[in-house]
Symmetry: C2
Subunit: 399 residues, 2 copies
Amino acid sequence: MPTTAIRSTEMPSSPIRRLVDFAIAAEKRGTKIYYLNIGQPDVHSPNEFWTAVANPGVKVLEYSHSLGIAGLRDAMSADYKKRGIPVEPSELMVTTGGSEAVVLTFLTCFDPGDEVIVVEPYYANYTGFANIAGIKLVPLTTKIEEDFALPTTEAIVAKLTPKTKGILLCNPSNPTGTVYSTAQLKEIAEVVKQKNLFLIVDEVYRDFYYGTSELTSVMQIPGIEQNAIMIDSASKKFSLCGARVGFLVSKNKDVLGGALKFGQARLAAPTLDQIGVQACLEKTPATYFEEVRAEYMARRDILVKSLAKVPGVVVPNIEGAFYAIVRLPIDNSDKFCQWLLEEFSHEGQSVLLAPASGFYMTKGLGANEVRIAYVLEQDKLKAAVDVLAVALQQYPGKV
Amino acid sequence: MPTTAIRSTEMPSSPIRRLVDFAIAAEKRGTKIYYLNIGQPDVHSPNEFWTAVANPGVKVLEYSHSLGIAGLRDAMSADYKKRGIPVEPSELMVTTGGSEAVVLTFLTCFDPGDEVIVVEPYYANYTGFANIAGIKLVPLTTKIEEDFALPTTEAIVAKLTPKTKGILLCNPSNPTGTVYSTAQLKEIAEVVKQKNLFLIVDEVYRDFYYGTSELTSVMQIPGIEQNAIMIDSASKKFSLCGARVGFLVSKNKDVLGGALKFGQARLAAPTLDQIGVQACLEKTPATYFEEVRAEYMARRDILVKSLAKVPGVVVPNIEGAFYAIVRLPIDNSDKFCQWLLEEFSHEGQSVLLAPASGFYMTKGLGANEVRIAYVLEQDKLKAAVDVLAVALQQYPGKV
């Protein structure tokens, strides 16, 4: 029997998947589980999407252009411009979800063995994408005590080696909910410019911003036009995770040209979903976003307020996305999350949380933190936190 | 300005794309172009697909499971079993097109630097997938004079090095239309078993078989259950190229487990397209395939008959898919294909062909061959060959 590759053996499997199996087992025992582990919004996808895919106006579902259908590229560019983000249709490529945009960026910008600094805690799948591309992620740690703010320029520069080719962050951040200020982004841009690096910013949560000042895109920072790469997606924006439509945006022609060459090999992103997303961009009323944003903001407020009452819980400032990394008075979050599903229930209920260790590359970090995705309706979210509070009293490993 | 990766610079861009630009320019000059270069069938996608995606029964388009939706996996397994191909639902993973199935196979089975023997001429995008995975493709040449039959076992064994980990072929073949006999497949299976290699067979053209005996799948060859990997797709089967739904099939648990880990990082294949393809598998009447097959068989017959009348043209035996590699009495097919678009027209018409050099890895091969995709209606196809015949008389580089 032939053996599979070393990189396949070394590829981490999803730590959450194991917990999901425990959750399913708990449900079979009759326990109600609140799922706070995943980034799948419960908001329904816009009617404009469903209408467009039901009436696509074609009889053959053909390959689209490898860059994406022209109408969608125009509509996305128009959406950016409306927000003051200067992006021409020729400066973006439609990808199969934001995931593919990251993979194509890695393949295009970095060679095997190159180093990319990633702000941790970070979206765990970046590890998988780095494994696919054979590049090395180097963690730049941010701390809950500092609301996960970006470290100083000195701390960033200290991470650079001759192999460093880029910096990657997510803004608003999955998993922390942190939003980086314009001043912070400009500081990091200065490093990027001086050291000739790519700056990749994953902005798929742009529409989930609860602050009062303007949210700044990497495409709005002057002087780094050739360094900046923006990752975007329709998944969260339109609650279309299953549509697999994302965007790779850059003014650097070598980046887009290179990504296109890799993209030609895989032919194209799904055509019908592109047609649907184009309709969403052109026709979804502003009220859709206002309602979604108001709903998530209310959920964030409930989460923060409820958690603040639980003794020993540390909740940082959360300004965007729909996640929070919170510190719990426990010995080990992997153990705690499993205990919640295997041994605990309160009035027939328990919760599924994501241990934060999976979002850190630095060993040992996140051991007393969990990620909470506040993707449940407000009353369910409140109930879930109540269950968590009881669990924290009963957990044998509390500290 | 930061520079992109070496692998990006070295990634070949599509040679056809350049020609398409010439074709567009010719059309602007008023020339009618017959497009014989692409594998986009003109057959319309099944009504069952359009009905299913218009009535998906959900309001939120969620991520599907990383392995694909259960109903689709069941339906595909049932389709295989009906054809005598023993595949359980647990032995297949839904991928984002056949393209992703090849990439995931490469990532899972091979490490950077590993060698995979590929039967040439071969589907040009395999080069791109190999570049993504950092593996080396080693060509095993087949010849038009031998109807592109597989070489002898000795010739295959002569290509093996300590780094060889697999063999890749396409059956029925894009770009040659060759169908490998059961005896040929068993010979190659013997090598694979003895040398402990993976055998990857791309079978996306299974439904386009015009022979009389049974078409044999790699999954039907006894004794190589742990070596065999089948690539499949809904693209050609249901004329759903734009749906991006493919399949990676293997009984080797390490292969499917590894592919799943890479697949979890990219989350899932498009949900709505999966729902549509499931409906196609469950409900499309047998007459759909019979009509499609009869139509393509008629096209093949017209192509072969028309080309046979053109002096100096060599047409091999073509038993499947909808492509042919044919030899023309010319000096250089790259030059000829460009000349067709830039300098030639006959009664205001010309043709776009794919130079065969792009389907060979061995330098110099295919220089007097082109790939013809017979994806046009019968009368158009006939007209296109007539135009080609006139062009061959006028071409200054004829031999």
